[in-house]
Each structure stands twice: as C-alpha cells, then as structure tokens.
Amino acid sequence: MRIVDRNYLFARGWKSAAPILFFVPGFFLYLFIAVGPSLATAVYSFTDATGIRGIAINWIGFENYDEFLFRGAASRDNIAALTRTLYFSFFVTTIQFGLGLLLAVLLKRRLRGTAIFRTIFFMPVILGVAIQGLIWKLFLLPSRGPAAQVFEWFGSSSEFLGGQPRQAFIWVIVVQIWANVGITMVIFLAGMQTIPEELYEAARIDGANGWQLFTQVTWPLLTPAVNTNFLLNIIGSLQAWQLFLVLIGYRPGTQVLGYLVFAEGFGQTSGSVTSAFRQGYAAAASIALFMLVLIIALSANFIVTQREKKYMP
C-alpha cells in the first residue's frame, strides 16, 4: 500500500507532466508551420506586401478585397475564376467519385489480374504533380503525341492543351481525375473490405439481385468511405492549381482561384512580360478561396453527417 502511495506521489511530480511535455515539440511545430502562416496570410491580406525585401509594407485595409471582388476588368476575371473553380470542383468530384466507386466495385471481385489493375489505377497517385503534368503534356503534344495519333486515325486533329480555353480546361479535369482517382478507389476498396461477406450471402438468399446487393448492402455500409471520399474530393478539387500551372501555365480563361493566388503572389509570365509580385493581394485572394472552401466543406459535412445518422446509428 505504502509503495503504491509513494509511486502515486512520484507520478504527481514530473511523470504526470511527461505526456504533456511530449506534446510540446509537435504542438510548436504545428503552430510554426500551419497556424502561424495562416494567421500571417490573413494579416498580409490587409497590406500591399510584395514579398520583396526592402520594399515597404503598408496597411491598406480592405483595398485588396475591394479590388479583387469589385474593381474593373480584373475583378470580372476573378469572379470568372471563382465560377470556373466551382465547375472544376463539381466535375472532378462527381466523376472521380463515380469512377473510383466503379473501379472499386469491379476490382473487389477476386478475378485474375485485379491486383495488376489496382496497381495501374493507383500508380499516378505516387507520381508528383510535375511528373503527372509532364506525362500528359507529352501525351497530348498536338503534332507528334500519341493522343494526336489516335485523333488522326479518326481523321481528326486537336490542339489539346493549346486549344480553346474551355478545351484546355477540360483536359486539366481529365488529368486531375486520372491523377487522383486511385486514392478514391483505394478508400472505397478499404471500405468494402469491412463489409462482412455474410451480409451479401444473406441478401442473396433474401432474394437480392446484383444491383440490389449494391444499393441495399454495399452503398449504405460504405458510408464512412463515401463520406471521406466526398469531402476529400471536394476540398482537393477546390484547392487544386498545380496541374494548371504545369499543363497550361498562365492563360486567361483557364485559371482557377488556387492558380490565381499563385500567379498574383509570385508573378505570372505572359508572353515576355512577367508581372509584379503582389503577395498582399494574393493573400486576399487566398482568404477568399479559404472562405469558399470553408463554406462548401461545411455544407458537405452537414450532408455527410445526415447520411451517417441515417445509415450508421
């Protein structure tokens, strides 16, 4: 008894603090690389910062926001970029979600070769954006690329990424889905692993056909994976911009909000002109993007929670 007491007293010393101490490095690291910059961005959005040393930073209040949203041709472009972001997110989310689910359903059957296909579909995920972009740029070379060859067989031709802005934009959607559908598929597959085989057997005996097995067993019990993918796809596609940079570069009529932030903050090259760095302005744009992601993600989360209530009591 006494020994227990002594240990207890000892534990009240430094031992009880130990768990908290172990948190400290990680906590400060998080403050330093995540919370700090986020707050700094919010502050910068009220300044005319350029990011170049030696140039004074002035507090300009809501000027950046005013310019971004309401002033002149640039603001119209910005609103167009915002709309384009929503389009991009909508198409990427729905198609990537649907395709990922379809692939998972097909690959879940233990047929010969499924392991190979799983690998093939997941492969792009492990490549960096630059490599993903390069592969497709080469693939879509207007005159000599493999895609051009295929078009030629059908007596057609295309400028691909260099064509109309709308067409280039669609190709980015394609590449974005190609690059990320593997993750969606893997999350669905993992979710399907958790559904006991017996439930399918019971449903088959109860009289369910293939489609009913999916709608009555797979879909409702896949709720956690469905919700995860839904949120990941929405947020991922709203923030996406790297593929636009690698595939198209700065081109009016193609950029999304995420790319706009980058282009304003670090300058964009159009022809032989490289624009000025406007990091304060970019910060304002990124706060606008943040608000958009927040609103959509919260709404999506609301839908998701309702679904969970329905299927996962």
Binding site: P196, E198, L199, E201, A202, A203, R204, I205, D206, G207, A208, N209, Q212, Q216, V217, P220, L221, T223, K310, Y311, M312, P313
Partner: protein
C-alpha cells in the same frame, strides 16, 4: 411440402481440396436434421451447398422435386440463419425481418402484418424500430430467426445459430428453436459442432468427419449403436473411453485388467465371436462405470481395480478420472486432442467418497460395452 435430397454430392475446391466426399442424405418433409461434426468436417460446406452459396462439384441436390444444382439461392425457396446472424446493421429490426418480402414486392401492408406476426412469435414486438446494434445477442439471434420464418420458406438452413450465445441463453434458445420448428413444421437442416445440441434438437443426426458421412440416425440410435469409433467418441459427454483389448473366449483382457462378457453380448453381436484371440477396440461410456462400493449385487468379472487421478464433483455426479494401463484408441477427433491420453473417465454416483490418489474398485456395466474392429474402427455387430 418439402423434402431435401442430397445424392452422391462432392465438393472439390479449385485448389483440389475435397471438402465433401460422396454425401448422400434424405431429409424428410418437416424433419429436423442436424449435421454435426468437428471443425473442418464439411458440415457448413454441405449446408451452404443446399443454400446455393457453394457450387456442387458432382452429384445431385433436390429440394422438393426440383433439382437445384444450378439454381440461384434466391430461387431455392430456403431461408438461412447464419452464425453471426448477418443482420443488416443499417436497417431496423422490422426492415431486417421484412427485407426478403420487400424484395419479393409483397405489398407494404402485408409485409407489416407478417413482420408483426413473426415479431410477436419471437417476442420482438418492442424492438421493431431498433437497429441490430442496439440489441442483445439473444435478441439478434431472434431477429435472424424472424427473417427466416417471415418468408414461410420450404426449408430452414441454420449454420451454428447458437454458437455466439452464452451457455445459459443457448440452452433456452435450443428449446425455443425446437419448439418453433415443430410448430411451423418446416423442413430444417441445422449445423452444429456441439453434440449436445445435435442430440437434443435433431429428429435425426448426421455425423460428418473429413467430409464423409459417418452415420445418420436418431439421437438414441447414435448413442446406443454408434457405427464406428469416431461416432462413439463424438456422441456423449464425457466421451466414451476407448482402448485396445484382446478377446479371449468370453473374456476381454486389457492391460492388467480382465472383464467377463455375458452371453447376451454375444447374442447381440454375433460377429464378435469371430474376433476370438484378436485385438479389438473396446468402448465403455463413463455412465457405465461406477464406484463398486455403491453397486450391489456385484457380479464376478465386472470390476477393474485402479487408482483415482482426479475427481470433479458436479453435485449430481462425480466425474472420476482413473488410471488404466491399456493402450488407448484414437477416435480421430481433431477438436479433442487429449482424447488419446491414457486413463479413463467415469461418472460416479455422488455418494462415492473416493478422492484423488485413492485405490478404487470400478464396476463396469459389461452388458453396455461397445466393440470395434481394430483396423477399420467400425462397430462389431453381425
């Protein structure tokens, strides 16, 4: 109504493992047939073949007059109860029970009525709006039963439906299922590894081992006239004591012990005489052994002198393990690894005062001894 006929059925998996060898069974209309055997004996596989969840490699399966070898599970008019119940976790109890009816496009009103009836029969009326996750194990089991009976199928197939329940509940559900089955009169195949379930529930019991049917008979016949060493050891608890012995005239000699067989034994088993002078396997059930000091009159040549290893007092009886220097016979049950150890087990009258280490005179009801061929392990009768 519906009989089930399994005719020379084989199950061979793609890796060439043969789970079922030439199985033939007839289940009569309204009969409760139990498939029992140790793990890996193929009993679940056999049931799943009846359900249509496993393909049949050879032979013919009939439900009623219809050959069902290539018929989908949903078209076989059977209902199945799974070991883990396989309830749909996202559906309410009512939706679980009524799912098959909903798929069959039965009108909603009728579904509600039939679900309510089934729920009442199973005392689930209060639980209809709950989800399986909110129910106790026993209630889940009853939902699984409800899902089966609401369809009014031609046959029930049950795959160890009670093995996830605690012992007390199991005994109760055992009786409930038996009663329900008699009440509904639906042909039932019930799989279990528990010989007590098999004996208490089955109209007939089919014992399987290594994918081969050992014997199919009424519980009492299985107990009284086991076809071979495996069935003899599998049915009954504690297990039958089995050891090698030499038959010498009307005596058997095993280790340092001798027992005299009555004429009636030879009358019952005319084939036994032919084994004179040979080694056979002798089986004696623990209930046919008692403390000789409590038995009177005691006939000559019906006792074994031994030493008690261990006693387990159960109140109603004392399970006494005692030494026996005869070579034990292995019944080949993979679930009971220590069956082949030396010694024997007896169920003594609770008045017995013997304790571990005591010398004991064990009285044997020699009339009830079992005899098996040493090579084939089959029972010696004719």
């Amino acid at each position: 109504m519906t009989s089930i006929s399994i005719d020379r059925v084989d199950k061979i998996y793609p890796n060439n493992f043969q789970a079922i060898h030439n199985l033939s069974l007839e289940v009569e209309d309204g009969e409760f047939l139990v498939l029992v055997g140790p793990s890996g004996c193929g009993k679940s596989t056999a049931l799943r073949m009846v359900a249509g969840l496993e393909e049949i490699s050879a032979g013919e399966m009939k439900i009623g007059d219809r050959v069902v070898n290539d018929i989908e599970p949903k078209n076989r008019d059977i209902a199945m109860v799974f070991q883990n119940y396989a309830l749909y976790p996202h559906k309410t109890v009512a939706e679980n029970i009524g799912f098959a009816l909903k798929l069959a496009k039965v009108p909603k009103k009728e579904i509600a009525q039939r679900v309510a009836e089934a729920a009442q029969m199973l005392e689930l009326s209060e639980q209809l709006d709950k989800r399986p996750g909110q129910l106790s194990g026993g209630q889940r089991q009853r939902v699984a039963m409800g899902r089966a009976i609401v369809r009014e199928p031609a046959a029930f197939l049950m795959d160890e439906p009670l093995s996830n329940l605690d012992a007390k509940l199991r005994v109760q559900m055992r009786a409930d299922i038996s009663r329900l089955q008699r009440q509904l009169g639906v042909t039932t195949i019930y799989v279990t590894h528990d010989q007590v379930e098999a004996m208490t529930m089955g109209d007939r019991v089919a014992v399987l081992k290594d994918g081969r049917l050992q014997q199919v008979d009424t519980p009492q016949e299985l107990y009284d006239r086991p076809a071979n060493v495996f069935v003899a050891a599998f049915i009954g608890s504690p297990s039958m004591n089995l050891f090698e012995a030499a038959l010498e005239g009307n005596e058997i000699r095993f280790g340092s012990h001798r027992l005299t067989l009555p004429e009636a034994t030879f009358a019952d088993r005319p084939g036994l005489r032919a084994y004179n002078g040979q080694t056979i396997i002798v089986g004696v059930r623990p209930e046919d052994l008692d403390d000789a000091s409590l038995v009177s009159p005691l006939e000559a040549g019906t006792t074994i002198a031994s030493t008690v290893d261990l006693t387990e007092a159960l109140g109603s009886e004392i399970v006494a393990h005692f030494e026996l220097d005869a070579p034990p016979a292995d019944p080949g049950n993979p679930d009971a690894a220590d069956d082949a150890r030396g010694g024997a087990v007896a169920r003594f009258d609770p008045r017995s005062t013997c304790r571990a280490g005591d010398s004991v005179e064990v009285a044997v009801t020699v009339r009830n001894l079992h005899f098996f061929d040493l090579g084939t392990h089959t029972s010696i009768w004719d």
